[in-house]
Each structure stands twice: as C-alpha cells, then as structure tokens.
Amino acid sequence: MRIFVCLKQVPDTETRIQIKSDKSGIEEAGIKWVINPYDEYAVEEALKIRDAKGGGQVTVVSVGPKSRVTDSLRTAMAMGADDGIVIDTGADYVDTFAAAKALSEAIKKEGACDLVLTGKLAIDDNAASVPQIIAEMLAIPHVTVVSKITAAGTILAEREIEGGAREIFEITGPCVLAANKGLNTPRYASLPGIMKAKKKPLKELTLADVGVSSAQLKTRLKDFQLPPEKPAVKMLAGDPAAQAKELVRLLMEEAKVL
C-alpha cells in the first residue's frame, strides 16, 4: 500500500504575528516553524494503516521553501514515514490551487497511489481547500474533517458535520482523506527514529518539475492588517445578583446583541 501524506509547515500556534511595513505579508524573522497540527494526525494515521497492513510505504510530501520545510519532513520520517518529497518554492508564493497542483503532480510522478492523507486545514491560510483540489486533480473521491478511518477492503471515513452529527462514507479505490483532531493521538519521534530519519530518502523537486508557475495562481493575498484593537474591557462590580442584572442590561441596551 502506497500512502502519501501532505504536510505543511506553519508558524507555531504561540507565534505573535507581525505585518511587514509594506503590508505584503507577515514578518518571518524569528518565527518557530512546526508541522501543521492537523497534519500530525494525518502522519499518525498513515503509519497506523501501513503497520496494520503489515507493510507498505508512507511518503511525506511538502510544498515550501526547502531550507526550512525539510526539517518538518525529517520529523515526520522520525515518527516513522519511509521517505519524503520536498517541492521547493524558494521565495515564491503558492496559493491553494498551485500547492494542490504541485502535490498532485508529485504524487502522479510516483506512479502508484492508494491513499492520500492531509490535514483538514492549515492553520496559517485557514483555507481547508487543498485536499479537495488535490482530489479533483487526481480525479479521485475526497472526504474532509475525518475523525475515524477504517481501511479494510473499502475505506470507511467518518466525518463530523453540524451539531455533532456525523456522516460515514464508503469509498472504493484511492481517495484523499483530510484529518480532523480526534482521529488519533500522534506519536512522538523516538531518538532511534530521529537517527534513522537522517538516512531516509528525500527527493527534491522544483515548481517547474511539477509544472507550476506563477501564471497559474488563482488568488493572491495583499493588504495584511492586524485586527482592530478592542475597546478596554468593562468590569462589572457588585454581588453576583447585581453583576448578572447589570450584564443583561448592558447586553440589551449598550451592546444590543440580544
């Protein structure tokens, strides 16, 4: 079984975001880069499926500047992935469409593909789009926000929808599944794992190798801004009964949200 895991590198969740003076993006200096949290669930699930089948190959793929995303690929290999592919963007911007094109072309180049696992959303661009676009480009089904996978013959993928309701899809053949929190508990890389990862194969591709150019971008981001400052908090005094009464009055008369 050949499983691909798409892995994006994103700023750590604690990062304080600062905007470049020309508003064209964020200041990247000093940012600590990590594996997108949802992608860790995807890596873990791939390893579990491979090991339950008693064999196979888990390949982690990332589109981004090679100089930094290689680290995250090595981390995933230290968790247990077999090999990696980095599609180097250098300093070029890629939108969700271009990232999906690069990922799907890289997967096609490898020949066989039984399953593609991704995160449900990258916490930087908040797009939740790349998995579906990859599936469209590979002409295979997709299921997003997946919280449970059973891979025995056909694949059963459970996803959460509104109000805690869930729907379960049955899929025949290769597909793209986008992992949600709750799917599993990602393992940590062990020390021997880290040592082994250094020797695992890492293929390097350029955007040109996968047929992606800036002329294909569908969207660009501009005019970055920090959110407007909130007015200072109004603290309510008195005993609980008085505080409750005053809050309800303020919500109705001042904030007008009720």
């Binding site: 969740t13 509104e162 959110p227 908090v233 809050l247 904030a255």
Partner: protein
Amino acid sequence: MAKVFVFLESNGTELKKGSMELLTAAQASGREVIAGIMGPGAKSLAPKAAHYGAKTTFVCDSPDLGHYNPESFTEAVCSMVKESGADVVLASSSVMARDLFPRVAARLDSGVASDCTILKLTADNITVRKPLYAGKCTAEVEFVNSPVKFVLMRPNQLPVGAADAAASASIKDFAAPKTSGKIQTKDMVKGSSSKADLTEANIIVSGGRGMGSADNFKLLDDLANSLGATVGASRAVADAGWVPHSMQVGQTGKTVAPSLYLAFGISGAIQHLAGMSGSKVIVAVNKDGDAPIFQKANYGIVGDLFEIAPKLTEEFKKALHK
C-alpha cells in the same frame, strides 16, 4: 447585466441566516441574482429565495440528494454555476460548503476565498478579506486568472435585508447527476444537539477547566437554553473528555464568530482566543482577575462561575421571556 450566483442552504424548511445574508448582499450589489438550492424540498424554498432578491432559482431536488455526497453535489453545482453565467459565486462558510466549493472551483479552473469576513460586492467589482493565522491578522484575497470568483463567507458578518413577500422568482430544475459509486453514504449518526452548529451560532456559551466536571456543564446548558445559545468548550475540557471534541473552540477546534460569546472558567490561552476573537461581543467570567481572557473581553465579571451562571440564567429568562 453582471450576475452573481448564491448557493443556499436550509434546515429543511427555512433558509439559514448565512444564506439570507448573502442574498441581501447580492441584491444590494445591483447584479442579477441567481440562487441554487440542493436536496429534497429545494423547490419549496425557492419562493423564500425570491423574497430576499433571487430573480431565478436553480433547484436540484432529487431524493437521492438527501445526504451530502461530494461527487454528486460537485457535479450538480458545477452545472448550475456554468448555466448561471455568473462570474461571482457566494456561499456560506458552512461545513458542507467548505467541503464542496474548493472542488467545484478547481473543476471550473477558478480560485476560492474561504472563510471570508468582509465582502464588498458591486456590479463590476468584488473585494473580500479573510482572517489568517487563526485571526491574528487579516488580508485581502485578490482573484487573478480566475474566471469565476468563489467566495465562502462566515455567517453572522452581514445584515439580512427585509423580505419582500411579493417578489417571485422563476425556477429551473436540474436533474440529479449520475455518479460513479466510488463514494457513497454508508450511515448517518444524529447529533446530540438540535441547536445551531457552533460555526453558525449567533450566541455561544463556553466552558473551560473552571467548570470542574462534565456534570457541571448542566449549568451552561441551562444558561444556553435561556438564550437559544449553543454550548462550546476549551480544549482542556474536550481533552479531559467532559465534552465531545466537536464542541471545542480554538485553533485546533472550531473557529466561531457569534454576536455574543460568553466564556466561563476559560483562562484565554492564545489558541483559544484564535478561535473566538472574531466574536462581536465577548463576556468573560473568571475568578482570576488577571486571566488573559479579560484582555479580549468587552464585559468582564471577576467571580465564581458557580454563583454567576445560575443568576445569569434567571436574569436572561426574566428579560427575554416576559
């Protein structure tokens, strides 16, 4: 005249609020509004679309479409968008639309801006902004080389106009697409809650570790019932198993943007704030006056939530159910 296609969702009998917001914006733009509705009962909703400005409503109301299927919905919505001739497509950032539209957009060789919070649509232009880095900043999404511009708007960001009960729309039927059978709905599991989903809720009452136990969430259920609110939680609480993961708000939970967010016993970690700082009005109740949540709150109460929550339930009942 320029056109705009608006994808509508309902709870079966009523259009969702987010859908009405989009119809209102579409109508105000001066463009011709074409609406699309999927699933059994779609036809009965067409008049409602007209009341909010749709000139034409496309319906695909086959019983086969009772459950969402990415394959058949993609196929049907692509036909609708092509038939409409619109170069702008609006949909709510719902669980279904977020799954569906990136694929529809890709099939039409176009781009998608998801989870937008600002939309300015005119007869000849469109400007959208979206939060990035979990709400720590925002940016404008500019469409380039995108024949159709797909925009998914977060609910509760735009006003709903007045309904014009006299308005009517022409209806066009679309046949249910044939499918490959490669992906099929196997089963549906009903949710525990009949309330609005967190991502669409207008009011959210959330509890953190300060709630102390799963049982104590009963306090928040009561409060939520008095307000017609949906209950959420911090990660600490979801990880402790007091509530299901589906209730978690934050960077690795749901991003919410209600009109009112009430946080009880939540400290206000950056990853929690990331999921709810887009709320219009935030109320924090915490026994620790230095809790970071107060820096994001509009109204704060320093005190014991076990004393405050029941009193608030009483007050809301008095004020709202007179």
